[in-house]
Symmetry: C2
DNA sequence: CAAATATATGAATATATGTTCATATATTCA
DNA sequence: TGAATATATGAACATATATTCATATATTTG
C-alpha cells in the first residue's frame, strides 16, 4: 500500500494507535488520565462505573501497546499515560463539534 | 460509564470515529483524500495499490458512517471527505514523532 | 500467619472486522 | 444493442475484539 503524504510505516503506526484507543471505555480511561495524571485500577473502575476485570483488561491492553505505563504503590497499581500523543488526539476531538454527527 | 471531562455521548462519538478510521487502508484513503480532495475508487485503488473490492468496501463503510461522501461522474464515483474533523486527527498524528513507538 | 483488599489472568463466548472471490449493476461509447 | 469499464454487493471465512466469570496472585494489616 502506498499513500499520499504519510509513509507506510507512519500510516501503520497511526492506525495502530487510533485502533488501540478507539473504544468508549478506553477513551474514557484516557480522558480520566488526562485530568488526573495517575489513577489506580479501582479509582478508574469506580469513576467510569465499569467492572474491575474489564478495566484491568483494557489497561493492560493499552500498557502492552505502549500507550500507558504503571507503577505499584502498596496494594494499588497506578496507571498513567505514556504515549502523550494520544492526548493531542483526544483534545483535538474534544474541541470538535460533533453535534450533527 | 462516566468520564472525566467528556460526556458519555461525546466519548461514544469520539470512539466511534477513531475506530472507524483506525485501519491502515482507511488512514491511507483519508490521507489521499486530504491531499486530493476528490478521488475515484480506481484512483484510490491504484494509488494505494489495493484491491478494488477492498477499497470499495472500505469507502462505503466510511460513507455509511458519515465520514465520506460521494458523487457519480460518468462511470466513476468520486469520494471526498465529509467529516472534516478526521483531518484534524490525521494532521495531528502527522506532526507527532512516533519514531520510538 | 490469616483475612482483607487490589489487581491480574485465562477460559469461554458472542460479536465484529478484514479480506477475498465471484458476480451483479451502472454507465459510456462504438 | 453489445462490449468495455467502473463500482457495488454479498457470501464465505479467518481472525480480532469485547465482555463476563471464576480464580489466582500480590500486598497490607491485624
Amino acid at each position: 500500500m502506498k499513500t499520499g503524504t504519510l509513509d507506510i510505516e507512519k500510516v501503520e503506526k497511526v492506525a495502530f494507535i487510533l485502533k488501540a484507543i478507539g473504544n468508549p471505555l478506553r477513551i474514557g480511561i484516557i480522558d480520566a488520565l488526562r485530568v488526573n495524571h495517575e489513577l489506580s485500577v479501582s479509582e478508574i473502575s469506580s469513576q467510569l462505573e465499569a467492572e474491575q476485570s474489564l478495566v484491568s483488561h483494557n489497561l493492560l491492553n493499552m500498557k502492552l501497546k505502549g500507550i500507558l505505563e504503571s507503577r505499584r504503590k502498596g496494594k494499588n497499581i497506578f496507571y498513567r499515560l505514556k504515549l502523550m500523543e494520544v492526548l493531542k488526539v483526544i483534545e483535538c476531538m474534544e474541541t470538535c463539534n460533533l453535534d450533527d454527527f
